[in-house]
């Protein structure tokens, strides 16, 4: 009996692997890449397959929260390439770095500069409610865009990160991929399945992380970012000071 069970198990595994590689062959690879990293993209399918394997492993860890909420597809968009998934992970790593207990704004700027993202800082200060720095980047990595961070502080005092976010391209697995990246970078489990299309985690030190697809009105009404109708389904990944937990 045990032998039979073992045999069935092996057969199931083989069938799953076969299905996996069969579906991979249909995935389009027609994606432009960042000029600085074009050499990576030109490498063989091995790089893509390792990226996809990591993706499916990550997606499997998402757990009941995301799957029960129907996480996965967003409107439009082609599947993310390995390079874009690497970008996604790079960006969630940067978010994780920025909210470390002793992290400063300068650390974030250094990380962005080292990654060749060309950060810029705009100040929004007043004598009543203090200083706010807005950090943006001009050269986001492939598959991501609109990095936005807000640092608050008083004059001559070290500022703290109140909000950090970026956008990830829409795609059939974009939400799952974003969730997986957050889990890997911030070392968290399944998100709290409290809201439709809004996946959230409570972190240490009063921070929350969340992943959500953006509707047209969210995109249109963003006071900082330009809007295009094609952007519907874009994923936003954010870490910020918690305000309204359920």
């Amino acid at each position: 009996m045990n032998k039979q069970r073992g045999l069935v198990f092996i057969i199931l595994i083989l069938a799953a692997v076969a299905l996996f590689f069969a579906s991979r062959g249909k995935i389009s690879s027609a994606q432009k890449t960042r000029s600085a990293e074009s050499a990576d993209a030109a490498k063989s399918a091995d790089a893509e397959s390792s990226g996809q394997a990591a993706d499916s492993a990550g997606a499997a860890n998402v757990g009941a929260g995301a799957s029960s909420s129907g996480a996965g597809s967003t409107a439009g968009g082609s599947p993310a390439t390995a390079l874009e998934l690497q970008s996604l992970k790079k960006m969630t790593d940067i978010l994780a770095l920025a909210i470390q207990p002793n992290a400063r704004e300068a650390d974030l700027l250094k990380a962005l500069t080292d990654a060749k993202q060309e950060p810029s800082v705009a100040a929004d200060n007043n004598p009543i409610t203090g200083e706010m720095d807005i950090v943006r980047t001009q050269n986001p990595p492939a598959g991501t865009r609109y990095f936005h961070a807000q640092y608050f502080g008083a004059e001559k005092k070290e500022k703290f990160a109140q909000h950090l976010s970026f956008e990830f391209k829409p795609g059939p697995e974009a939400i799952k991929q974003a969730i997986a990246a957050v889990q890997a970078s911030l070392h968290v489990g399944a998100p709290e399945p409290t809201r439709e299309n809004f996946y959230e985690w409570k972190l240490k030190d009063g921070y929350c992380a969340w992943v959500a697809p953006l509707a047209e009105k969210d995109l249109k009404n963003n006071p900082f970012n330009a809007y295009s109708p094609e952007d519907k389904g874009t994923i936003r990944v954010a870490v910020e000071i918690c305000e309204q937990e359920d």
Binding site: K32, T33, R34, S35, E84, A122, A123, D124, N125, N126, P127, I128, T129, G130, E131, M132, I134, R136, Q138, P140, A142, T144, R145, Y146, H148, Q150, F152, G153, A154, K157, F160, Q162, H163, S165, K169, T194, R195, E196, F198, E200, K202, D205, G206, W210, A212, D218, N221, N222, P223, F224, N225, A226, S228, R236, I241, C242, E243, Q244, E245, D246
Partner: protein, 560 residues
């Protein structure tokens, strides 16, 4: 419709007229009479008007019969239901006065559109003028004229022409008017702005190359130079005109209606000869608008070519100091010397393109706008300090409730109340006022905007303001949509819209709400304090409950 001869009518309102006062005259349009001066008018406002703009839709005349109505057709809503609304078509010569049912979701607010008067018979004296309904603080401005049986109500419209950035006058039109609306054309605000710009160019610049596309290859060797010698263009700012600015008074809102002189009234009618063109947007104007991260076309003179994605074709010319948002995509640009930008003030069909990157800079960094930005910031800070030190005080009588509608549930109970414990380490630092997404959030008192909207939490934003007497309010969980004219340093009057109710998580289970935080103003520094236990807020945080309760009682006659 036979017009009565009107001549030039004077609807002179004496300066010093106060909102709400009586015995004033106003210029209105009346079916059968045309332009008329009407006496004994008092200003009022209302949340809704029956006039709507329909998208392209099916109008069900009966169970079996329907007709199509075109996009942007003016209709009058007769009976509204959540699914369908009975309407009367107004803005269509063929279907004028036709009634039927239309899907409610196809109807849009008239406030988002501009009307052009086209028919010579009906609108001889108004042909070539553009009307935009006056919508302030979540309310449509109306005037009530006359008394008793002769009392009439008119919806107020700003009147624009191509020669002036500001409205040239105001006109009242009854909601029940029909002939007036028979032959109009409707534009979105962006389309009207673009149209008026073009009219201005055609009159001012006979050799302008206009906006037609031409072919030009980008330079391949040296840094791209895309400056032409076309004279700078003026820019109409219909969508940015603060709706509480009176004709002829490009300044802060006042509580009086400026005099409508003969010239202004004459300007409403088409016989007035062509006037002096509006000046191009100045560095100071650029400095005072938008967000801290806005960029500009950093040119001293001339224009900048805006290209299509191939970079081979020029779509249009951008003016010096035009404000742009940088439009990032998910893939690298073909040519790193170019950057994609979006021009917020241009019409949607022609507001995006690629420009030479070296000419796009933060307005705080561009040498042409940097001094103005610094000066504007200094003025804003001085204004904020002045307001903080001005007389008056936070009290149960000082201020207005921040929402036009009463919250749908009590803000004194449960997780909505101030000091509700949120998890192990945090205490709720506000009262949550439940409403509907898009409800106007209004300034509780006169004051100055300090900051915002900025990202607050869960996809919603916050606006900070200091109010007369020095207390500070954070209007939290508002939409990212910027209320008209609101940016850092804007002086605000009590009741002015500073934002719109949002919903954390977009479409999630948390109700839409205004997260209202109140501070005495006795401390300085950021309102959120990381690591602070309990409220995680600045030390002068106040419990707003009693104040809100009294303001609620004053406005609605009841309080939770």
């Amino acid at each position: 419709m036979k017009l009565l001869s009107n001549g030039l009518l004077l609807a002179v309102l004496t300066s010093g007229y106060s909102y709400g006062a009586s015995a004033e005259s106003f210029l209105v349009w009346k079916d059968g009479k045309g332009l008329a001066k009407i006496e004994q008018c008092r200003e009022s406002s209302q949340e809704r008007i029956s006039l709507k703009v329909s998208d392209r839709a099916e109008l069900a005349l009966s169970v079996r019969e329907s007709v199509k109505i075109e996009d942007k057709t003016l209709v009058r809503a007769i009976k509204e239901n959540p699914q369908s609304t009975r309407v009367q078509v107004l803005g269509s010569a063929q279907k004028h006065m036709t009634e039927g049912l239309i899907a409610t979701q196809k109807l849009q607010s008239l406030g988002d559109y501009v009307l052009e008067i086209q028919d010579v018979q009906t609108g001889r004296k108004l042909k070539g003028r553009y009307l935009q309904v006056v919508f302030e603080d979540g309310q449509y401005k109306t005037i009530s004229c006359g008394t008793g049986k002769s009392a009439q109500r008119f919806v107020v419209y700003n009147v624009f022409n191509a020669e002036n950035q500001q409205p040239v006058g105001r006109l009242g039109i009854g909601e029940n008017e029909t002939q007036f609306f028979k032959s109009i054309k409707i534009y979105t605000s962006e389309e009207a702005d673009h149209l008026l710009n073009r009219q201005l160019e055609e009159k001012q610049l006979p050799d302008s190359r206009g906006s037609s596309a031409s072919t030009s290859k980008p330079p391949s060797v040296s840094p791209p130079h895309a400056i032409s010698t076309t004279a700078p263009r003026g820019q109409h700012l219909i969508i940015k005109v603060p709706l509480n600015i009176k004709p002829g008074a490009p300044s802060e809102k006042s509580t009086t209606i400026d005099s409508q002189t003969e010239q202004n009234i004459g300007a409403i009618q088409t016989e007035v000869p062509f006037q002096v063109m509006a000046a191009p947007e100045t560095a100071a104007q650029v400095a005072a608008t938008g967000t801290a991260i806005d960029s500009v076309v950093c040119l001293k003179d001339g224009t900048l070519s805006v290209r299509d994605e191939s970079l081979q074709n020029i779509l249009f010319q951008a003016n010096k100091l035009e404000v742009v948002k940088i439009a990032q995509g998910f893939v690298a640009p073909k040519d790193p010397r170019y950057i994609k930008v979006q021009f917020s003030a241009r019409s949607a069909d022609k507001n995006t393109g690629w420009v030479a990157k070296e000419y796009i800079q933060l307005k705080s960094a561009c040498e042409m706008t940097k001094p103005a930005v610094q000066a504007q910031r200094q003025q804003a800070n001085q204004a904020a300090v002045a307001v903080a030190g001005a007389g008056g005080a936070l009290s149960g009588d000082c201020c207005n409730f921040p929402l036009a509608k009463r919250p749908t549930t009590s803000y004194k109970e449960g997780m909505r109340r101030f000091a509700w414990r949120r998890g192990a380490n945090r205490i709720h630092a506000a009262c949550d006022l439940y409403g509907s997404v898009g409800d106007a959030v209004n300034a509780v008192n006169d004051g100055v905007i300090l900051r915002g909207p900025y990202a607050f939490y869960g996809g919603v934003y916050a606006v900070e303001a200091v109010h007369t007497g020095g207390f500070v309010v954070r209007y939290g969980e508002v939409l990212g949509k910027v209320a008209a004219g609101i940016s850092s340093g804007t002086k605000i009057a009590k009741g002015r819209a500073v934002g719109f109710v949002g919903q954390v998580g977009g479409h999630g289970k948390l109700s839409p709400m205004l997260h209202f935080e109140l501070y005495s103003g006795k401390q300085e520094g950021p309102l959120t304090q990381r690591g602070a236990k309990g409220y995680q807020r600045r030390g002068d945080l106040l419990n707003p409950t009693d104040y809100l309760s009294r303001w609620e009682q004053a406005k609605f006659g009841a309080s939770y």
